[in-house]
């Protein structure tokens, strides 16, 4: 396994994992755009990622899928996917060659969310971990508490006759939110980008409750008998920069993100409320995951990699180093 300008590369299998540029064979850990890029000749991913991958990259892509625990062999390398718990269809990748075991985590969280299959720790010699929230100030509350807060905020807005708008990424965060909303308050409405993801994921077997499609615009909701003042509208952040939101008039705006833990983030985007909800591991989860693998070598990427790797070296005496995808990208240019 090597770290190249194009991404993580297994030379023996001639396979890239979440490559940054066009390659022949790409194993994609999940369908977020910073991991699943267009232009690869062949894609390999988890079964539940196929629909969403085709939605985002085109119906004509060449894609092969695997279930969790299922293995394929490429030139003597055994490749197996395990649940990463990040978003629907997300996977960790285990590669075994001549007894050496590597695991590339992709993005993950170890706490189950009831929507995505829960993270599974995999024993290995080398563990490549993300570190998006790799500082001890990031410690998530249990998700039920967060959803109680979200439902209370929605209820309060609805009783004041004010629509509630909740920001969340269209793949993963939005569906996790949908699953735990209290429908007795009002209707749940989804932006077109989220509606498309919803449909693709429902076809893959996921269930996250009833929702209304606002692809045709928010103005049409009243015609369909939906009371917008009691509704909770889920949309991606970029929807606020379009005219799509205009028919709502006054509304209360909230963001769901791990970054909301830090008060300065409350001003990002000028939201009225920030709910701390992330699909990434917080500090305790990162440590738990790393230690559970039993890996002697830990390679840290994506986020606070310097901090986490130094902590693992000093506190747990692990061989931990930094793999920065950005650095790799620059080396290639």
């Amino acid at each position: 396994m090597t770290f190249t300008p194009l991404g993580f590369y297994c030379a023996q299998a001639d396979l890239y994992i979440d490559p940054l540029r066009k390659v022949s064979k790409a194993l994609v850990t999940h369908a977020h755009s910073d991991h699943a890029r267009p232009g690869m000749q062949h894609y390999l991913c988890h079964t539940q990622s196929v629909n969403i991958l085709k939605l985002r990259l085109g119906q004509r892509i060449s894609v092969q899928s695997m279930a969790y625990g299922e293995s394929v062999w490429m030139n003597g390398v055994e490749i197996t996917l395990f649940p990463a718990g990040h978003v629907p269809g997300s996977a960790q990748v285990r590669l075994i060659y001549k007894g050496e075991v590597w695991v590339i985590s992709g993005d993950y969280k170890t706490v189950g969310d009831g929507l995505t299959p829960a993270f599974e720790a995999v024993r290995c010699h080398h563990f490549v971990t993300e570190s998006t929230f790799g500082l001890p100030i990031f410690q998530w509350r249990d998700q039920q508490t967060v959803f109680d807060d979200i439902n209370a905020w929605w209820r309060e807005n609805a009783s004041a006759g004010k629509p509630s708008v909740l920001l969340g990424y269209s793949l993963g965060k939005a569906q996790r939110i949908l699953k735990y909303l209290d429908r007795s308050v009002g209707a749940v409405v989804c932006h077109g980008a989220i509606a498309a993801s919803n449909i693709a994921l429902q076809e893959s077997g996921f269930d996250f409750g009833e929702w209304k499609d606002a692809s045709g615009g928010l103005a049409s909701l009243q015609d369909r008998g939906i009371r917008t003042e009691e509704s909770l509208i889920v949309c991606p952040p970029n929807a606020l920069r379009s005219s799509w939101i205009s028919p709502l008039g006054r509304y209360s705006l909230a963001n769901c993100s791990g970054w909301m833990a830090v008060s300065k983030s409350g001003d990002w985007g000028g939201v009225d409320r920030g709910f701390v909800l992330s699909d990434h591991a917080d500090w305790p989860q990162l440590l738990e995951a790393v230690l559970a693998t039993g890996a002697e070598h830990v390679h840290v990427t994506h986020g606070f990699s310097e901090v986490l790797s130094r902590y693992l070296r000093e506190t747990h005496q692990l061989n931990a180093d930094v793999v920065e995808k950005g650095m790799l990208e620059m080396q290639g240019e």
Partner: protein, 293 residues
């Protein structure tokens, strides 16, 4: 609705208020002491804490976040208990009490708690949580309050949704208006209205419909609306361009039928808007209170 509800002030804050609702500091703990206790409890090394503080943007923020998930259940009585025994406690007992309180509270409350323990009484704390009054104004309030008619000149949106505005009002001076008084108006976030006017929602709509030129964060509005205002703690000022300053400006009434007040300024509407000169004449002069240069 009481003030603590309106301002979302945690109930335990009552332990930091005297009977008159003024801010007090029963005990003081230095920030360094609190930091030492928290780092010892969490086992965070110095370099790691620096990284946390760098990202969080402030010491209090980083310390509050490090304490993890809140356990809940703190009341003013629990705090009072600690205040009463503080002087008899050992350092170890003080630390345990402090960490117990901190573990129980929400992150936002932790920041507030540490600010209060360290003896901070900044305007931010006072305005955000309504914890007391600026001490220098307490005495003035009782002696000098005034009611005037002022004309609305500018507004500044306070929140993104334009549900609250800071309004700047002017008084008449030399064939024009001089901005003098500011008040906040709009939704109070709890289903009510900050100024308590019956027509406050209508006024909010009027502002939205009459926004004019943008001057930095401020917007001009159509200069036509006159309001009856009351303010406390007014006194002469050499620095303010109007020559006086005031606190606690309240909007008593929107004089919507004041047809004479419609701009441009005419001899007729001068009488509707109180003149600056009248206010300055009203104010006690330094010699009135026996003050000398």
């Amino acid at each position: 609705m009481n003030q603590s509800n309106r301002l979302n002030r945690p109930v335990w804050c009552d332990a930091f208020l005297d009977e008159g609702g003024n801010l007090i500091f029963p005990i003081k703990v230095s920030v360094n002491t609190m930091k030492g206790w928290i780092l010892e409890r969490t086992g965070i090394s110095a370099w790691l804490f620096i990284e946390c503080q760098r990202f969080a943007g402030s010491l209090n923020e980083a310390l509050a976040l490090l304490m993890g998930t809140p356990t809940g259940g703190i009341t003013a009585m629990v705090l009072q208990h600690g205040f009463e025994r503080w002087d008899t406690w050992t350092d170890s007992e003080r630390k345990e009490w402090f960490l117990f309180i901190l573990s129980a509270t929400e992150v936002e409350e932790r920041r507030l708690f540490m600010s209060l323990l360290s003896g901070r009484s900044s305007a931010t704390l006072i305005s955000k949580y309504g914890l007391g009054k600026i001490s220098s104004l307490r005495d003035i309030k009782e002696t000098t309050s005034i009611t005037v008619n002022a004309i609305l000149l500018y507004v500044r949106p306070i929140d993104r949704m334009n549900t609250q505005y800071e309004l700047t009002f002017g008084l008449y001076k030399e064939e024009g208006y001089t901005s003098c008084l500011r008040a906040i108006l709009g939704e109070d976030g709890m289903g009510g209205w900050l100024q308590g006017l019956d027509d406050e929602p209508v006024l909010l709509d009027w502002i939205t419909d009459n926004l004019g030129e943008r001057i930095g964060p401020i917007r001009s509005v159509t200069v036509s609306e006159v309001f009856e205002l009351q303010c406390d703690g007014i006194e002469l000022s050499k620095r303010h361009k109007a020559g006086f300053k005031a606190e606690s400006v309240r909007v008593l009434k929107w004089l919507r039928n004041a047809e004479n007040a419609i701009a441009p300024l005419t001899a007729g509407n001068q009488s509707m808007v109180t003149s600056l000169e009248w206010v300055r004449d009203f104010l006690p002069k330094p010699q009135d209170s026996g003050q000398t240069g």
